[in-house]
């Protein structure tokens, strides 16, 4: 019970915020997107920071999830539940295929193959004709009503925001648990030294594929949640720039640490609000500078800075 308490408290707090913001449409919308970014950053952190895979396909899977649920529900006419399951299965199948192919490649070639995959996905979206809606994407759909015990209801407003909060928490929970298990240690071991990891009995190729698949499927799940935030899916939302942004979030926050992913995602998502009055829409300039500075001076990111400060000053206070 005590172990579940923090999770329940977090859920309660996040849902409370959802209801507090219910009359502020813009902020509610930003809150939803922020939570989705945090979920994506957590997954990307597990993939890049913990398992050491530089894969640029994370955002593509977010897009695959979003498009899959929309196409299966509104173009193929499947029930939402079926569409969700099929969509996740599609993410898993694609991830396994890319993962198997990519583990044959060493080092940075994984990044290149996944980058090519992500770009190819965008081309397919843009040229997909009636199925994907082309460059304009698909719009004008609404989350279908759910049937539970004979009663129909639709998740709207703060209820849908709460659902996103639960998706985020579930994502966090999965990665948190995995990280604290032998599986997470095997991932870190592969990141630090694949040869030694194999000598300890870790099946390096298999573990890499599993990590890639799990993180990609969860990115797909977040994408499904996103599909009903703006009620439109179109190619530019899933561009390559976004995965760079995820990379910046994770590195600036502190790669390999869940807290780092959360802090980095929140910071980089919120920063434009502060920066826009100062430099217009050029916040990426600041991101780039902070990124370079992080690589040069603090590769362990803000969480590392925090640890250091606490080690130096915090003992007495804490």
């Amino acid at each position: 019970m005590t172990r579940a308490a923090p999770w329940l408290a977090a859920a309660a707090a996040m849902i409370a915020v959802a209801f507090l913001l219910k009359d502020f449409g813009y902020y509610s919308d930003q809150y939803r997107k922020l939570m989705l970014w945090v979920a994506l950053a957590l997954g990307f952190n597990f993939l890049f920071g913990i398992a050491g895979q530089v894969a640029f396909s994370h955002f593509a899977f977010y897009g695959i999830g979003a498009y899959a649920v929309v196409i299966l529900t509104f173009k193929a006419g499947l029930p939402l539940g079926v569409a969700v399951v099929l969509g996740l299965a599609l993410c898993a199948v694609l991830a396994i295929a890319v993962g198997i192919a990519a583990t044959r490649l060493e080092g940075f070639y994984l990044a290149l193959a996944t980058m090519a995959f992500a770009q190819l996905f965008l081309v397919v979206l843009t040229e997909g004709g009636a199925v994907t809606g082309g460059a304009g994407g698909i719009a004008n759909y609404r989350l279908p009503a759910l049937e539970l015990g004979g009663r129909r209801f639709t998740l709207t407003g703060p209820y849908y925001t709460s659902l996103i909060a639960l998706v985020l928490l579930a994502t966090f929970f999965v990665f948190w648990r995995l990280d604290r298990s032998y599986f997470g240690r095997a991932c870190r071991a592969i990141r630090d030294n694949p040869e030694a990891a194999a000598a300890m009995g870790v099946d390096v190729a298999r573990t890499k594929i599993v990590v890639f698949t799990v993180t990609s499927v969860l990115a797909g799940a977040a994408g499904m949640a996103y599909a009903f935030v703006d009620n439109i899916v179109n190619p530019p939302v899933f561009g390559l720039e976004n995965v760079f942004l995820l990379l910046f979030m994770v590195i600036i926050g502190g790669s390999g640490r869940h807290a780092g992913a959360v802090v980095g995602a929140i910071l980089l998502y919120m920063l434009p609000y502060v920066l826009t009055p100062l430099i217009g829409h050029h916040q990426a300039l600041v991101f780039g500078i902070v990124m370079v500075a992080a690589m040069l001076f603090r590769p362990d990111g803000l969480v590392g800075v925090y640890d250091r400060l606490r080690a130096r000053y915090g003992r007495g206070a804490a």
């Binding site: 290149l112 193959a113 980058m115 770009q119 300039l285 780039g288 990124m291 370079v292 040069l296």
Partner: protein, 299 residues
């Protein structure tokens, strides 16, 4: 038939630009192992520098001189990039991923700086020649196409001669083959890294200048060009100068053939945009060394 020949000329001219970008990567990867995705932004730097030099009112430069100055400026930017994002990390003994990621940060900095200075609108250089059709033997194309092909040929011949005929080119190759033995010869590894980045940036800047002759480009041009150039490199092979141009040509030809003929077999012609990625995936999986293997593999 003339249709095909015209397509060949136009494919060759865009293949040249891909080839130059691939060459820019190659010049840096060989001695340092660093894949620098900021090459696309360097191309943009070259383009916008040339644009600035040709259109400003205070310092009117002759056309050719402006281009040369823009390329030199990009080389200087390359030195700065290396100094900020590569050398400190290499000397700290950071893994190779460190500079690669720092260079992604530089990419964002370059892109946004350009957009800050020049705004979001696309620009192109005033065309050096008219746009009339000219024929060279059986080949027909615009003077622009032939200008691009000629300039690229000159750059490749120059770089090829540098690698094959000069002792400094051999020194580059020696560092690529065996860093430690190269250091024992007295080759200054730091200086080779600097030269690689300055040279790589100048080549990328030149590619950017040529790229803008074909269509107006905006500050977002860098990353797509960087990805296409890298696809060309993967296709042609990382080991040899000739691979870069070969890869560029194959890529451009495949793109233009798809764009022109895919409709006839029921594929949307826009899918030609996916050709580089498809080629890249195929080559990464089937032949990671590219078409031309490095010489050490052949020996």
């Amino acid at each position: 038939m003339s249709d095909i020949l015209e397509l060949l000329v136009s494919a060759a001219s865009s293949g040249c630009i891909y080839g130059l970008v691939a060459l820019s990567y190659l010049v840096m990867i060989r001695p340092t192992g660093i894949i620098n995705f900021a090459v696309g932004e360097w191309a943009a730097v070259g383009l916008f520098a040339a644009f600035f030099l040709l259109t400003n009112r205070w310092l009117p430069l002759p056309y050719a001189l402006a281009l040369i100055a823009a390329v030199a400026f990009t080389g200087l930017i390359g030195w700065g990039t290396q100094r900020i994002a590569v050398r400190p990390l290499v000397e700290k003994g950071a893994p190779i991923l460190g500079p690669i990621l720092a260079l992604l940060g530089m990419l964002a900095i370059f892109r946004e700086s350009i957009s800050l200075i020049f705004g979001p609108d696309p620009h192109n250089l005033p065309a050096p020649f008219g746009l009339r059709q000219v024929s060279l033997g059986p080949f027909a194309g615009t003077p622009r196409d032939f200008f691009i092909i000629g300039c690229t040929a000159a750059v490749f011949v120059g770089v090829w001669l540098f690698f094959e005929r000069t002792v400094w080119g051999k020194a580059f190759e020696a560092v690529a083959l065996n860093r430690k033995a190269a250091a024992l010869m007295g080759i200054n590894l730091r200086r080779v890294t600097v030269a690689a980045f300055v040279g790589g940036a100048a080549i990328a800047g030149f590619a950017g200048v040529l790229y803008s002759l074909t269509a107006p480009r905006d500050f977002l041009m860098g990353l797509p060009l960087a990805v296409q150039g890298f696809s060309a490199l993967v296709v042609g092979g990382v080991g040899r100068v000739e691979g870069a141009i070969l890869g560029g040509m194959i890529l451009a030809l495949a793109e233009q053939l798809t764009a022109r003929y895919a409709d006839q077999i029921g594929i949307p012609s826009g899918m030609s945009l996916g050709v580089p990625f498809l080629l890249m995936i195929v080559f990464l999986l089937a032949r990671p060394t590219g078409l031309l293997r490095p010489k050490e593999a052949a020996a």
